[in-house]
């Protein structure tokens, strides 16, 4: 018995250190906790600074990985069978309905929260080094931009897998956006679809990308992203302590502005994970993931809409397409390439062209960054507006309707 409790203590003390020495050692003694720094600043721990959006995003990624692995045992990536395995999940597999709902909700939430995380980082100027010569936060911001891109791709590739009408046509629209790229559009579409139309080849491509390639990339990038945060000296707000101390000519004593990551940080991260899990579970209980009729390439729904996070792109494409009686300018180049391309490039280099003073690092809406923040806010609002407009106000034939005045679509019976 004595021995048993000793072992238990050996296994668990790193999670619950009882004194300063143990708290410091915990991070190096436990392999899992290697990821965390030894100490974390009070402001990094606060709810109101970061809203813990990065942790939420990673929690969702974890939920997705776990539910996704279980789903892999139950799903068959074949155009004849995929839809019916999803039907089985919903009706015959124990907990299958819940598993699928969780995966669906976590995926949508992840797109949403990764975006929110980016917005938070921008508005707090957290991509700035704040005079810290060892930090390279602009690089980490760029990694984050790619993470957002890969999150979108993960969600997009997963959208096709149920192989219902919703999936098939949303993916068709998405792939057609790729097709409208000038010169290489057709090759891009062919590469994506594995042929000239969305069929079995597309499904297996999307499946392989969705279950292994993209998750592996995201896992690698996200590991680097978090390690980078540690290397850069924690969240950007931590620079404020150093700047303040410098100004006041004081020496910083760790105990004055930091606490031990173990247990404070890991406990709060666990709490955030549990809250995220709870939110996903609640949504999964309230609302079922949609499953329309089986995919049928010969029946085009009208209107066919891209997944919601690409709706702004579809809308851009529609409004940059100019039709005159004499000629038509396809929106593919402007709406599909130029505008999103400029947005992404601007996103990548914005930390380097942001010339605001060091004091603006890690501060919400710092007055010196008014121009940058307004520019960013307006871009995000336009994208959000385009998305909502396309979601609720675009009816059959992409005409504009009030959401409550949609013309009825005929059924078969």
């Amino acid at each position: 018995m004595q021995k048993l409790s000793e072992w238990w203590r050996k296994l668990t003390w790193t999670f619950a250190p009882s004194n300063k020495v143990e708290a410091t050692k915990a991070v190096t003694r436990n392999f899992i906790l290697h990821w965390f720094p030894a100490r974390v600043t009070f402001r990094s721990m606060s709810w109101s600074y970061s809203w813990w959006l990065g942790t939420v995003s990673f929690s969702l990624f974890l939920i997705l990985t776990i539910t996704g692995i279980v789903l892999m045992f139950l799903y068959i990536p074949s155009v004849e069978r995929a839809y019916w395995t999803i039907k089985d999940l919903e009706h015959a597999v124990s907990f299958g309905w819940f598993l699928r709902n969780m995966h669906r909700w976590a995926a949508h939430l992840m797109v949403f929260f990764v975006t929110l995380h980016m917005v938070r980082v921008f508005f707090t100027g957290a991509f700035k080094n704040g005079g810290n010569p060892e930090a390279s936060r602009p690089l980490n911001w760029a990694v984050g931009m790619f993470l957002l891109l890969f999150t979108l791709l993960l969600s997009y590739t997963g959208y096709l897998l149920p192989w219902d009408q919703l999936a098939l046509w949303a993916i068709t629209i998405g792939a057609n956006i790729a097709k409208s790229v000038p010169l290489i559009g057709n090759y891009l579409h062919f590469l994506l679809a594995g042929g000239s139309q969305i069929d079995q080849n597309t499904l297996i491509r999307f499946y392989a990308l969705h279950v292994i390639v993209l998750p592996a990339i995201v896992l690698l990038l996200v590991s680097y992203h978090m390690w980078r945060v540690r290397r850069d000296g924690g969240l950007a707000v931590s620079e404020q302590y150093k700047m303040q101390a410098k100004k006041e000519g004081k020496r910083l004593v760790p105990d004055d502005y930091t606490t031990f990551a173990v247990p404070a940080l890991i406990r709060r991260a666990f709490l955030v994970f549990l809250i995220s899990l709870g939110a996903v579970m609640l949504l999964s209980l309230i609302s079922n993931a949609p499953l329309e009729e089986p995919a049928d390439p010969s029946w085009t729904p009208n209107p066919a809409k891209a997944p919601w996070y690409f709706l702004w792109l579809q809308e851009l494409l529609a409004i940059t397409t100019i039709r005159t009686p004499w000629f038509t300018i396809n929106g593919g180049f402007v709406g599909g390439i130029v505008i999103p391309g400029i947005l992404f490039l601007w996103g990548l280099i914005v930390p380097f062209i942001d010339k605001s003073p060091d004091e603006a690092t890690g501060v919400w809406f710092h007055p010196s960054r008014r121009l940058q923040n307004w520019t960013f806010a307006i871009i995000m609002l336009i994208l959000a507006f385009l998305t909502i407009f396309a979601m609720y106000f675009r009816g059959p034939s992409w005409n504009i309707y009030w959401p409550w005045a949609w013309p009825p679509v005929p059924h078969l019976f």
Binding site: E90, F260, L274, E293, S298, L412
Partner: protein, 481 residues
């Protein structure tokens, strides 16, 4: 222990409240998990199974009910249903194969499957399953999804009595599922139990739809090809186009759309409703349509609509098809390997009890006798050199060869001109030529050309033989007097 030795080393845990939050969130998560387990353990179908057991125990006794397997039940025939779908209808409809649950005191959903005319002996349940006849979505285990009442674009609904009520069928029995019978019985006629489809097929032959439409890969090209009408996407039926009413024989805009017309009549917005309105008066949907109003009754309209919906291209193994050779012929025609030709429907009435065919036979002879008598009488009268016997035959041909679809004799013009007095307006050879080779006449003959300009619809070649043309001419001559 360790803390007691080095009190200076103790750190203040500023964030201890997080632990409490973790416990609170943990309790919430446990509640959620409980709900998930409860929901998984109590699916909708279990309610129905409990209800069934209660009712069946009363009716046939506990011992027999105990032998029925409960839980998720399914009928799976890989050949017919494909590798990954199974009909799970029998999970709730537990009584279908249990004898003794007939009768009105058992709710319809739990009743033994009826077996009229030995239907189930030819289509055993364990081989055919449910959805191939009744519609609905396989694999599903909730009423809403299994009956496909879900969403806006569902393709295969279950033909329920409620659905029939929406279309105002005057029937207490299920008849709409005859649509699905016709998937495999497309080239049969007079099939026992398929009264609506049988009626529609008789009408189709009587009105000679194939003179204007390609049906079964063969026919005229004035109207659209109807071979796979049932597969047409709902998007191809514009229910937001204006609805027309006929005033003084001409279509006039009614001021509202087809969809609004459906709403006024209490019909669902559907392709089925579209066909109903279209059969009622084609020009109310398409004002420029040259399709005549055949004056169908309400039941005939419903029957024709069902026939339209039944013409689908489905991947059913050939040995499930009635007359698979005819399906094969249709395929060869579509592939262009065989010349388009009329596929005659095979009557299944021959296999039915002999009495019916005898009665028909007697009637025929009686008619013939009458005709002969008439002919003798009129021959005696010898009125104006009309061979009345031939004219009688011509009258019949005038109907069966589809002339009535476009022409009347003394009833005013339809798609083509009224033929009363035509034998006086044109000479005999012209009329015979027009019947036998309308295409070359309409290209070369000045009068025929002018008529085509006036009526805008070319007269199709109906495959009439010279002898038959003679008879039709004789009829026109007699009717013109």
């Amino acid at each position: 222990m360790a803390e007691n030795k080095k009190p200076a080393n103790v750190f203040e845990d500023k964030y201890w409240k997080d632990s409490i939050l973790i416990y609170i969130v943990g309790i919430v998560l446990a509640i959620f998990t409980g709900i998930v387990i409860y929901r998984t353990a109590n699916p909708e179908w279990k309610k129905y199974q409990k209800e069934f057991v209660k009712i069946a125990e009363k009716k046939i006794g506990k011992e027999k009910v105990a032998k029925i397997d409960l839980g998720i039940r399914q009928i799976w025939n890989k050949e017919l249903m494909g590798p990954n779908t199974a009909d799970r209808c029998v999970t709730c409809h537990l009584g279908v194969d249990v004898p003794g649950l007939e009768g009105d005191d058992v709710p319809v959903v739990f009743r033994t499957h009826p077996n009229p005319d030995g239907l189930l002996d030819k289509h055993p349940l364990n081989k055919f399953g449910c959805t191939i006849c009744h519609g609905g979505l396989p694999n599903s285990l909730t009423v809403k999804e299994a009956h496909a009442e879900h969403g806006v674009r569902w393709l295969y609904p279950t033909y329920t009595r409620e659905l029939q009520k929406k279309y105002k069928f005057d029937e207490d029995r299920l008849v709409m599922l005859q649509i699905n019978c016709n998937y495999c019985h497309r080239f049969d006629k007079d099939v026992p139990g398929m009264d609506y489809i049988n009626l529609a097929k008789d009408l189709m032959i009587e009105k000679n739809c194939q003179s204007c439409h390609i049906i079964d890969g063969y026919g005229g090209n004035i109207g659209p090809n109807l071979t796979y009408e049932g597969d047409k996407s709902h998007e191809m039926f514009d229910i937001h186009a204006p609805y027309y009413v006929i005033k003084d024989g001409k279509p006039v805009e009614s001021g509202h759309t087809i969809a609004e017309e459906m709403k006024r009549r209490g019909l669902p917005y559907s392709v089925f409703s579209w066909h109903i309105l279209h059969f009622e008066e084609p020009r109310s949907i398409t004002p420029t349509s040259t399709m005549p109003n055949h004056g169908f009754s309400k039941d005939e309209i419903l029957a024709m609509t069902m026939l339209m919906m039944s013409w689908r291209k489905l991947d059913i193994p050939s040995h499930y098809l009635s007359n698979p050779g005819k399906y094969q012929l249709l395929r060869l025609m579509e592939e262009g390997r065989v010349k388009p030709q009329k596929i005659e429907y095979v009557s299944m009435a021959a296999t039915a009890p002999e009495t019916t065919s005898k009665v028909e036979g007697q009637a025929e002879t009686a008619e013939e006798v009458q005709v002969e008598e008439k002919a003798e009488k009129s021959a005696a009268a010898s009125s104006g050199g009309v061979d009345l016997k031939l004219a009688e035959k011509g009258k019949e041909l005038f109907g069966t060869r589809g002339c009535t679809a476009c022409h009347t004799v003394g009833g005013g013009k339809l798609v083509g001109p009224d033929l009363k007095g035509v034998t006086e307006r044109r000479d005999k050879q012209w009329i015979i030529n027009m019947i036998l080779k309308p295409d070359s006449m309409q290209q070369n003959d000045p009068i025929a050309k002018k008529l085509l300009e006036e009526y805008n619809v070319p007269m199709p070649n109906q495959g009439v033989t010279p002898e038959e043309a003679e008879a039709i001419y004789e009829y026109l001559k007699s009717a013109s007097k």
